[in-house]
Structures are given as C-alpha cells and as structure tokens.
C-alpha cells in the first residue's frame, strides 16, 4: 500500500468533512449503548475465562511433571500452549487495555495486571495502548508498522537491509515475546547513542525487563523442569514448544491486524489537529479482521475483531461480535471496505507483503505523488462532534 494521502484515487475522496463527523457520531452512539449495558454477565465472562485459563495451565503443568511419557508430554504441551495463548490474548491484552477496569476489581485491572510475557506490562501498555492505538498506521509515528525492523509499506524508504526481512520476520515470529520486549524498550533507538544508552529512564526500563525475563525463564526452564525430576529435559522441551507455539500464533494474529491487503496507511502530517471523526475513520481503514468460529475469536483474544477493537479499544472483548454487524453496515453505507478474511488467507497476504516489500518499489508503487498540505487544525480527538455535525472545532 501507499499512504492514503499519496494514492492516485483515495478510498475516502467521496466523504465530506460532515460525513466523517457523522461517522464519528454514529460510532459514539454504538459505543455508548454497549458501554452503558456492561454488567454482571460480562464480569462473569472474564472471571470464567480467567478461571478456565488458570485451571488449564495448572493441570497442563501438572501433567508435564510426568513429561517423560510421550502421551503426557503431548497433552501437557498442547494444554500449556493454549493456556499461554489465552493468557496473552483474551485475558492479558484485553485487561491491560482497560476493558475490564469498569469492574473496579483490583485483581482484574489495567493498572495492576502483569502478563505471562517477556515484556513488563507497563512498557507494553506505553508502546501498544498509547503509541500504536493513538497513531495507528501513521508512517513514522506507529512503530507497529514493521516494528522498526521491517518495511511493510511502499512509503517506508527501502534500504538493502530489507532484503533479509522475510528471514527477520520468521525469526521475530519464533521469539516474538522477546521481540516485543526489545520493541517496547525501543532498543534500536536507545542503543544507538551513548547518551541514550546511559539515560537513567532507559536503564531503569532495561533492568525491569531483565528482571521480568529472568523470572519467566526461571519459571519455564528451571523451576518447573526441576519439579518434574526425571522428566527435567522433557519439561524444558515442552515449555519451549509451548512458548514457541504461543509466539507463532500471536505473531500471525497480529500480522493479520494491520498488514494484509486492503489496509490503509497515513502520512504524519495528515493527523495534525485530527478530529474524533477522522481518528475513527483512520481506525476503520487501518485495521483488518479475521473471519472464523467462536473458538477462533477466543483464541485470538477477539483481535479477529481488530476493526471493532481499534474503534473501541476499551470495550470488553466479548462484546465485539455484538457490534460487528453494525460496524459492517456503517462501512457499507459510507462506501468503505471492511477488510476481513479467514486466517490462512490473511496470514498469506501479510507474508506476501513482507516478501514483496523486501525489494524496492516497482511500477505504479515507485511513483511518489506529492501530498496536499492541510491547513493546520486544532481539534482534539476526545471531543465529540455534536449532531447535527456542524460544529466540530475545539476552542
């Protein structure tokens, strides 16, 4: 893709500023309706998922105490892989988004949750919730576009290093949790100069991450294997495989969110003084869903509803399926493309892009069109447009 601002024909050229604010008003109404109806059923849902996940993890680890026996190894590893995926996706990711803060339960709260991952939750919340979700798909602002190691957009400058990116991407997929930790630490940027390396803030974060990784490694590769006695090595292997499965799965799901064909990217200048409606529109165009069964939605932490998640990142994940038809209808009415597809297709599409963009742009993509300069606006994203959409400018 090329940023929407540099495209020959923009997919949003037919929308007037009033249309865009109207989209915002409609989305706010959808949000309000669901948020006002949150209640005991939702609370029961997340507590049930947590209870199941913990039960599954505990019993899988129990079985792995006897991982010397191949059936125990297989069952335990499969169970632990699923438990780790559930913990990261449907539970950890969503709790850290504040989706369950409304329960006012300190045990299930974005400010308190720590997840089964190499990256400390604080750092992940900063790079994910704050940078990625606010600046979604804005070239130069959203580091999730290629994670700083890959070129996933025609408008990212090509350098020969990118020739190897299919390989980096595979390696990153296998060690994804460490990739995320390095990414949250912004290692590339922070290790570049001596001044940055010695910044006390960076050093503190580095220490925090080292401690977190230490605990995680100790748990999976020393304490649990030691508990399983003669099955020591088998348990190490089982835990390594479970982590690998979780890494590959989460990496695939996350690639499907913003890399497949049909997802749009944006110029840095295009978001200056962005209104709430414009922010919503960017989320609609910058995300892609995965179609599939209920089990698929659960295992992806409902990131299969990536579009709905990006519109309403703090809405409880069990509600995304409920708003999806309304969102789809909104896309249709405003002549926009709701990008979705089955997992294999979306994964293939994302991988194809990683391979294609490891080479320099060719043909149509090589033409770099100038962008229109927008008059600087001073809107704020939190301020809602009022129906009818006439007044949107903030003081």
């Amino acid at each position: 893709m090329t940023t929407i601002q540099r495209k020959k024909t923009s997919p949003i050229a037919h929308l007037t500023p009033e249309d865009i604010e109207q989209i915002g008003i409609e989305l706010d109404a959808i949000r309000d309706e669901v948020m006002a109806s949150r209640g005991a059923k939702d609370a029961a849902y997340i507590r049930r998922v947590i209870a199941w996940q913990r039960g599954l993890e505990l019993s899988s680890r129990g079985i792995l105490l006897f991982s010397l026996f191949p059936p125990a190894w297989l069952v335990g590893t499969a169970g632990l892989s699923i438990a780790k995926i559930l913990e990261n996706m449907e539970i950890g990711h969503n709790i850290m988004h504040g989706q369950w803060d409304f329960l006012r339960d300190p045990k299930i709260h974005s400010t308190k949750w720590e997840w089964d991952n190499a990256s400390p939750s604080d750092q992940w919340k900063h790079s994910h919730n704050e940078l990625h979700h606010t600046y979604t798909n804005v070239i130069g602002r959203d580091n999730d576009l290629g994670y700083g190691i890959m070129r996933v957009d025609e408008d990212q400058k090509w350098i020969p290093l990118y020739l190897g990116q299919p390989l980096w991407n595979f390696v990153n997929a296998c060690f994804f949790e460490y990739g995320i930790a390095a990414y949250d630490l912004e290692l590339g940027k922070n290790l570049a100069t001596k001044k940055r390396r010695q910044d006390p803030g960076f050093k503190a974060r580095l220490k925090q991450t080292r401690r977190k990784i230490g605990k995680q490694v100790l748990k999976d590769y020393i304490v649990h294997p030691a508990l399983s006695g003669p099955s020591f090595l088998h348990t190490i292997a089982a835990n390594a495989v479970a982590n690998l499965v979780r890494n590959l799965w989460t990496h695939s799901v996350i690639m499907c969110g913003h890399f497949p064909n049909g997802v749009e990217t944006f110029e840095k200048t295009s978001i200056e003084g962005e209104t709430r409606g414009e922010w919503y529109l960017r989320q609609m165009l910058g995300s892609a869903n995965i179609s599939g069964s209920k089990a698929m939605h659960l295992m992806t932490g409902n990131l299969s509803h990536q579009i709905e998640h990006h519109l309403f990142p703090d809405m409880p994940s069990n509600r995304y399926h409920q708003v999806a038809p309304k969102i789809k209808d909104l896309f249709q009415r405003y002549g926009l493309t709701y990008t979705t597809g089955p997992l294999p297709k979306q994964v293939a599409s994302a991988w194809w892009k990683v391979i294609r963009l490891s080479f320099p742009n060719r043909g149509e993509a090589a033409i770099r069109r100038p962008i229109e300069k927008k008059a600087p606006a001073t809107a704020t994203r939190w301020r809602r447009a009022e129906a009818p959409a006439t007044e949107t400018v903030a003081p």
């Binding site: 309000d32 949150r38 209640g39 005991a40 329960l103 919340k125 606010t134 100790l218 304490v223 703090d314």
Partner: protein, 358 residues
C-alpha cells in the same frame, strides 16, 4: 523457630516462582478466599431479617481483620451488576464475640445500589469484600455516668453496637429513637426488652404515625430535661445532626455531643468544581468542560499522560472523594471518603468538588 520461618519464607518464594506472573494467592483465593491477609474478605454466615427493609448480616472476616471498637464502622464491598461498590456500615456486634463473627445491619435505601443488593440478594455463603474497621464515634474508656443517645432510622446501628458492648457498664442510659412506624424500628424488640428490664429509658418517636414529624432539639429537651448534663451520641440524617449541633452549641456544651454522619454532604454540580490533587497539594478551580488532566497540567501538577483521548489508560489516577463526569458519555462517578476509584483524567471533568490522588 527462626529457622522454620526462614524455610517457610524460602519455600513460599519458590511457590511464587512457580506461579509468576500471578501470585500464589490468586490460585489459593479460589479455594480459601478468607486466608488472604492482603485482600480482606468476609463470608456471609447468616442473613437475618430485621424489618421489612433491613437485614442483619453475620460475617466471618478473613485473615487481616482487626478487632473493632464499639461504634466503629466498616467499609463493605459488593459487586452490583458486575461493578464493585463500597459502602460503610456500622458494626452492631460487640468486639468480644468468641466466634470472631461481626454483624452489620443494612437498611435498603430507595435507589441505593449497595444497600438494595445487600438486603435483597446477599445469601448465606457469599463472599463480601471488607476493609478494616474505622471511625471516631466511640464511647470513652471511662463510661459516662449519664448517657443520651439520639438516633433516627438506621442511625441506631452504631448505637446498638455500643449498647451491646457496654450497656452492662453504664447505669443511666436514655435512648431517643425516631423511625417512620413502630414496625420500622430496627432492633425494635431488643430495645423494648431492654427498656422493659429497666436497663435503658427508651423514647420512641414514629414520624408516620404522629403528626409531630421529624425529631427537633426542642422535642428532645422536653423529653429529656437534663440533656445537657449527659454525654450524648447522635446518629441520623444530616439535617437532624445539624440541628442538634446548633442546639448543643447554643447551650454551651458542644463538647458533650458527638455525631456520626453516614452520608458525607456530597455536592455534585452540573459541571465544574474544585479539584484537589492530594499528592502535590495543588488546588484548581475548573469549569467542568476541561479534562482534569489539562487543568492539572496548567496548574503545574506533574501528571502521566498518553493518548489524551481515553483509550490508553496511562493517565489513570484514583478518585478519592467527590464527583467527576466522563466527558464522552456523561457518566457520573462518585467517590465517598475511603473510596479509591480509578478514573481517566484525560476524558474526565470535575462534577463538584473532588480529590484526585496525583
């Protein structure tokens, strides 16, 4: 002994390594919620109806409970429609109960989410959340020679706690109690029995039954001529307590009157109010249209911030008291003293005076 303790702590650390990133307590809480001393909970041992609208809950507090003083209250947390809400209730049992149980008596307030939940839906065996007891509405170590208690409605609860704990140490006790009807008197039969036994002088006032209406200081002065000679404890609606405080101050014996208010006078406005940042001590006047994050920053408070649009949850701070409004959908959040409700300052404005921990 020390060796065993060290070994125990070491073993516990290994268990923590097994369960990281969650703590062992997160697993143990499922089977033994009362053993967790860090998170105080209580099990409902019995639910006893008192009047048509009130029940007494017999609670078994978990580890971490601290013995209360008669007259103190405890904050009780219960999930109402999924949301954990906390309210304070006076403890009505004596502190020396040998089984370690405590009782609270809850009156269903119309429109009161927590009281309605506790009265209508709480069953034996349920787990409630608890805080340690607190409150300054206490009897003196040396019991008063002459005591007067003035209560209205559920204002009887802390006084009942005092009577059950220390009546045997007091000789001259007058209780003036006001309720809507004869049947609506919480602990009615127990109080009447005490009166019949001559252990207290009970004056009941039924506001629905007589035309005399609400209890006035002048009425009490008529019923209890020596009121200013008595150490007095009063609990009830704020208007009644205000009247009493004025009357006692006028009589020059303000120090003999102690009052307990259930509901702090919470002011909620259409918009705006004084925001107090408790850590920095900064106080800002706001108009209710500007996010608290902006107001704080303008006043020089160092605050964490992120997306500034309510999605990243980096700026979350606890609301300790007062009312705030979500600027997106208008939802009002109200915190009473003792509460700790995380809010998002970037999309929240003051809706009355409020205190933010920041």
């Amino acid at each position: 002994m020390a060796v065993i303790r060290t070994l125990g702590a070491g073993a516990w650390r290994v268990v923590e390594l097994i369960t990281t990133p969650v703590v062992p307590a997160d697993y143990l809480d499922v089977i033994a919620p009362l053993r967790n001393a860090q998170v105080l909970r209580a099990k409902v041992e019995a639910v006893r109806p008192e009047t048509a609208n009130s029940v007494t809950l017999v609670l078994r507090p978990g580890r971490g409970w601290v013995r209360h003083e008669p007259g103190q209250y405890v904050r009780v947390g219960v999930d109402v429609d999924g949301v954990r809400l906390w309210r304070s209730y006076s403890i009505t049992s004596p502190p020396w109960r040998s089984d370690g149980r405590i009782t609270i008596t809850v009156n269903a307030v119309p429109g009161g989410a927590v009281s309605t939940e506790l009265v209508r839906n709480v069953k034996r065996g349920m787990i409630l959340h608890l805080d340690v007891p607190t409150g300054e509405f206490l009897l003196d170590e040396t019991r008063p020679e002459k005591a007067l208690f003035v209560t209205a409605g559920s204002g009887i609860t802390p006084v009942m706690g005092m009577l059950r704990s220390a009546l045997h140490e007091m000789t001259d006790v007058v209780l003036v109690h006001s309720a809507r009807t004869h049947e609506a008197v919480v602990f009615g039969s127990e109080l009447r029995t005490l009166a019949a036994e001559g252990r207290i002088r009970l004056i009941e006032r039924h506001t629905r039954a007589s035309d005399s209406g609400r209890l006035k200081p002048a009425d009490i002065a008529e019923l209890v001529p020596d009121l200013f000679e008595r150490q007095t404890w009063a609990c009830g609606p704020n208007e009644m307590l205000d009247d009493l405080e004025t009357h006692w101050a006028d009589g020059g014996v303000a120090e003999r009157l102690r009052t307990e208010r259930f509901r702090p006078t919470l002011l909620t406005s259409g918009g705006g109010g004084t925001v107090t940042f408790s850590k920095s001590g900064t106080v800002v006047e706001t108009d209710g249209t500007e996010p608290i994050l902006d107001s704080g920053e303008t006043a020089g408070v160092l605050m964490k911030s992120g997306c500034r649009m309510g999605i990243c949850f980096s700026c979350v701070l606890p609301l300790r008291e007062g009312a705030v409004r979500d600027l997106r959908d208008g939802t009002l959040t109200v915190a009473e003293p003792g509460d700790n409700i995380p809010i998002q300052p970037c999309v929240t404005a003051a809706a009355g005076p409020c205190t933010i921990e920041g």
